[in-house]
């Protein structure tokens, strides 16, 4: 069958089962936009290419299927660089297709030319400049394979205009869908080494103070159920990192919640005092370990990761296991069963419960005249007033930490955020992507006022495309996390962090973008506003919560200090526990 490159590209996406593409056309990608009209693939026209990238990420997070974005060359391509870096850091499978200037113009500084393959080399799992229309099906097939297997990640395919333009002879190709993938340099290991798995089981059987350190890899490997089985079989408690919230139910008695810089006392301290950390799909990120030399000093390490480069990158494991988390946990469960009953760990379990009782997360919502609205209160009200399987999407900063702390994540894939790159402005477009992938679910973006201003224009996309996401802005009129650091570590010298609570007017702005806009200033208005928002299903909703600008995120481990020095609240100052 004779096709042109543009038709072949769209047909390849259809062959890969793509149901939706987030994108924005321009000169170099223009010919590809013509066959889209005749394709069953839904195209969502974004207002800025960064939005397309984050929507693809949100879609992938929520569904587990690769997200797809398509943009033009030059500025279109550079605008999607941030989502690519974000997806790389958080191992999100997305495929980004960029138009490129015609082959003959490459290297001439042509209009809207950018060497995007060069630019994105270190922030993609793989990228490729297509040099022949005939290669398009193979390269697209490889791109999806690479993005979704092993450690998932972003793949960029850059396609010169002449290869997709039916008026150019270079676009002629004979359609052929390869029936196998031949990548001699790409063979991810999925099955763990049996001897290592037995050694891991032995270490578990010997340990008296073990903790399972579950990371985002659990979710990528669809291993939440396996993790639960392992935890229940061994009776070992689980901390869930920022990327793994929901991978183990917060309501489970063995759940310790989030560790790290803003983790809870028990999660942090259990790791510090453990004699065995079972790291499953986690990567010893600096936000989790604090000062690496002082992290979990008495713990042996079992480290399971599909990416061999993670093993020993930060902390040398006693038992390294390369493999898919689900496959390895399944085998580990068998090996643990063979060894018989677990040792008595009552003393440790009692200690954990005691810490949980002694050091819970806390805040106080005053109800008197002039008492400011607490952001944590808003999140708890939102949690209690929304369906249990609501998907929560956050931006980056204080609101992100409070959301992770105060929501109760009892299902996998209900928490979407930018963990590794820390991309402000992630929430709105990622929530739209999640809602597109999971239209039957309630999707709440919990955003900061600083974050919201970075990508809010995508609510125009949401209105136009009838994607009824909901946005809760925790508006404290500041770049709150930066303000918190300036308060604690820069002698309250507040440099360039004030944003104003009502410039812009978020309610009017939301309405201008076709959303329902609301403003909430008092604690007793919170629940009714949320109820109203949850009852609206035909358009996006934005609630501007005017929250206490003095509120800070606690507990906190100051950057570069040991996790033994948890600051529990303002009353403790900087000294730590």
């Amino acid at each position: 069958m004779k096709l042109n490159g543009g038709q072949a590209l769209i047909k390849s996406l259809e062959m890969e089962g793509v149901e939706v593409v987030f994108g924005l056309p321009g000169g170099a990608i223009l010919p590809v936009y013509d066959p889209i009209i005749d394709s069953p693939i839904r195209h969502i026209l974004v207002r800025h290419e960064q939005g397309a990238g984050h929507m693809a990420e949100g879609y992938a997070h929520a569904t587990g299927r690769p997200g797809v974005a398509m943009v033009t060359s030059g500025p279109g391509a550079t605008n999607i660089v941030t989502p690519l870096a974000d997806a790389m850091m958080d191992s999100i499978p997305i495929v980004v297709i960029t138009g490129q200037v015609p082959s003959a113009a490459i290297g001439t500084d042509a209009f809207q030319e950018c060497d995007i393959v060069g630019v994105t080399r270190s922030i993609t799992k793989h990228n490729e400049l297509v040099t022949s229309a005939q290669d398009i099906p193979r390269i697209i097939q490889e791109a999806f394979h690479i993005a979704t297997t092993g450690r998932p990640g972003p793949v960029l395919v850059d396609i010169p205009k002449d290869l997709v333009d039916p008026n150019n002879p270079n676009s002629a190709m004979e359609w052929e869908w390869p029936d196998s993938i031949d990548l001699p340099g790409y063979k991810p290991t999925t099955k763990g080494h049996p001897r290592m798995i037995r050694e891991a089981a032995n270490l578990i059987a010997e340990s008296r103070r073990p903790v399972i350190y579950a990371g985002g890899g659990i979710l990528k490997a669809r291993a939440a159920q396996a993790l639960r089985e392992l935890a229940e079989l061994t009776g070992i408690s689980v901390v869930t990192t920022l990327m793994a919230r929901g991978a183990f139910p917060d309501s489970h008695p063995l759940c310790l919640g989030m560790p790290g810089m803003h983790g809870n006392y028990t999660a942090i301290t259990s790791m510090q005092q453990s004699d065995l950390l079972i790291a499953l799909g986690s990567r010893f990120d600096d936000r989790v370990t604090g000062k690496v030399g002082a992290f979990a000093p008495g713990a042996k390490i079992i480290h399971v990761d599909v990416d061999p480069a993670e093993l020993g990158k930060v902390r040398r494991p006693d038992v390294p296991i390369v493999g898919d988390c689900k496959a390895v946990i399944d085998e580990l469960i068998k090996a643990v069963r063979e060894l018989g009953p677990q040792p008595d760990r009552a003393e440790w379990d009692t200690q954990l419960k005691q810490w949980q009782a002694q050091f819970p997360l806390h805040y106080e919502q005053g109800w008197g005249e002039g008492d400011a609205l607490k952001p944590q209160f808003c999140i708890e009200q939102l949690r209690d007033g929304s369906p249990e399987d609501t998907i929560v999407v956050s931006g980056v900063g204080q609101h992100q930490m409070w959301s992770s702390q105060f929501w109760r994540f009892n299902h996998p894939y209900t928490w979407i955020n930018s963990g590794g790159l820390g991309t402000m402005g992630f929430a709105v477009p990622a929530a739209i992507g999640a809602k597109v992938g999971m239209p039957g679910r309630t999707v709440w973006a919990i955003d900061g006022d600083g974050c919201f201003q970075m990508t809010a224009q995508e609510l125009v996309t949401a209105s136009a495309e009838r994607i009824p996401v909901k946005v809760a802005i925790l508006n404290n009129a500041y770049l709150g996390m930066v303000r918190q650091w300036q308060e604690l570590f820069y002698e309250e010298r507040y440099s360039e962090v004030y944003l104003s609570p009502d410039l812009p007017d978020y309610k009017m702005w939301a309405e201008a973008m076709g959303c329902v806009g609301m403003r909430v200033e008092h604690p007793d208005e919170v629940a009714p506003a949320i109820e109203k928002a949850n009852s609206i299903d035909d358009r996006p909703v934005v609630i501007d919560f005017r929250v206490d600008w003095t509120e800070k995120v606690y507990p906190m481990v100051a950057a570069g200090t040991s996790n033994d020095a948890v600051i529990l609240g303002p009353e403790m100052g900087e000294g730590g526990h």
Partner: protein, 177 residues
């Protein structure tokens, strides 16, 4: 006191013979803060693949991280680290040396001793080609410096593992101790 000799590691990297692969490999080294001491790249007997021979100067533990990162590149097929003691290394050099009538005889004599070749002759300069193990090239370069080196170009090393002639198993047991 003289500096200790740099710790050289030789990585022999088999890659797909595609555009941009060298850039991927070299930029990965740069990003991790490694200085590439020398680099040689050419197609192998199989036209689908090229071999990159990279000499880096590092401590061994970060090298493990960089080889793992390198292996994550889709176009990298195989990486072997060659122990200089168990590898055959060769390098080639061409250099132009001052050789006025009074010293020309001495230079030619040294070229003969080192089994080099004179490939170009000027009024008072010679261009010499020399191939061999890198240490031999170093020695020759030292000797020529006394006469005055005008220009010098080395190719960087290529290397292959030494062929096994003894029982591998015995040797590996020896190493464990």
């Amino acid at each position: 006191m003289a500096n200790p000799p740099p710790r050289h590691h030789i990585l022999s990297v088999l890659v797909e013979n595609k555009a941009g692969v060298l850039a991927r490999v070299s930029s990965l080294f740069a990003r991790r803060g490694f200085n590439i001491y020398s680099l040689a790249v050419a197609p192998t007997d199989d036209e689908r693949f090229s071999r990159i021979t990279i000499v880096v100067d590092v401590e061994s533990s970060p090298l493990e991280q960089v080889t793992k990162q390198l292996f994550k590149l889709i176009n990298v097929v195989k990486i072997s680290e060659l122990d200089p003691a168990h590898a055959v290394e060769r390098e080639m050099m061409i250099l132009t040396v001052k050789a006025e009538p009074g010293t020309r005889g001495q230079v030619i004599e040294l070229v003969d001793v080192f089994q080099g070749r004179i490939v170009d002759v000027g009024h008072d300069e010679l261009t010499i080609e020399l191939a061999g193990p890198p240490s031999k090239l170093d020695d020759f370069e030292d000797l020529m410096r006394a006469y005055g080196i005008g220009a010098l170009q080395r190719t960087g090393r290529v290397a292959l593992p030494k062929l096994e002639r003894t029982a591998t198993r015995l040797r590996s047991i020896g190493k464990v101790g």
